[in-house]
């Protein structure tokens, strides 16, 4: 699965996107965030306030309890501040 990061999530993780092979334990967006947090300090720092992180699956906003295994592309980012 392609995973993209934006704004300070991207900066703390240190890459803008990467290919992730999901372990079977990852079903929902919440699971993906928990999995990524175990990958290292940058991830843990970027995602420390889990509930705060927004998730998009195939470029659509999804809730944390949404299954995301079928998505080709998932993105994690802070609350938006455009406009």
């Amino acid at each position: 699965m392609r995973v993209k990061y934006f704004a300070w999530v991207r900066e703390r993780i240190g890459v803008a996107e990467e290919e992730i092979t999901l372990p079977d334990t990852v079903v929902t967006a919440h699971d993906l965030i928990a999995h990524l947090k175990s990958r290292g300090e940058g991830y843990a720092h970027a995602l420390e306030r889990d509930a705060f992180i927004r998730v998009a699956a195939d470029q659509m906003h999804v809730a944390h309890d949404t299954p995301i295994r079928e998505a080709r592309e998932v993105a994690l980012f802070p609350p938006m501040t455009g406009g």
Binding site: K4, F6, A7, W8, A56, Q59, M60, H61, A75, F77, P78, P79, M80, T81, G82, G83
Partner: protein, 150 residues
């Protein structure tokens, strides 16, 4: 008719407003432009990061919902990406309709949802040349969005 765009070029408001449908039945055009503030000399610019593809997708979705909700003739929504200097426009939203209430409501609706749902993030660039903090999301924007709940 809907026109949405994300561009790294300075926004020429008149060029974009020319995309708004105006027929002989159009009696009202409501326009909003958001500008980069200097914050009393503290800032030189705002840097706008966005999620290419999804940003345009969300803008189109929001505009489509506005077209379904009000009898408007069209929507133009354009958003800058990249570095926007103090005083320059960041975003332009305009709608046209027969009567003013629909145009006022629809333009404000699109702006309110654009703030909370379109994947853009702002970072401060200080007047002294240093790169500052990412701007934090504003609870007022969530409240503004909530006002449109059916």
């Amino acid at each position: 008719m809907i026109t949405v765009a994300v561009t790294a070029e300075p926004l020429d408001l008149n060029v974009w407003l020319a995309q708004l449908p105006q027929t002989e039945g159009t009696g009202a055009v409501a326009t909003f432009a958001g500008y980069c503030r200097g914050e009393a000399g503290r800032l030189a610019a705002l840097e706008l990061e966005h999620y290419p593809g999804m940003a345009e997708g969300e803008m189109k979705r929001i505009a489509t919902e506005a077209m379904a909700r009000w009898p408007i003739h069209g929507v133009v929504a354009v958003h800058r990406c990249g570095l926007v200097t103090v005083g320059a426009p960041i975003v332009l939203v305009a709608t046209s309709s027969a009567h003013r209430d629909a145009a006022f409501d629809a333009t404000r609706y699109v702006m309110d949802f654009l703030k909370t749902d379109a994947p853009f993030w702002k970072r401060e660039h200080h007047a002294d040349g240093t790169v500052g903090a990412w701007i934090e999301a504003n609870a007022k924007d969530d409240a503004a969005r909530a006002r449109w709940a059916p």
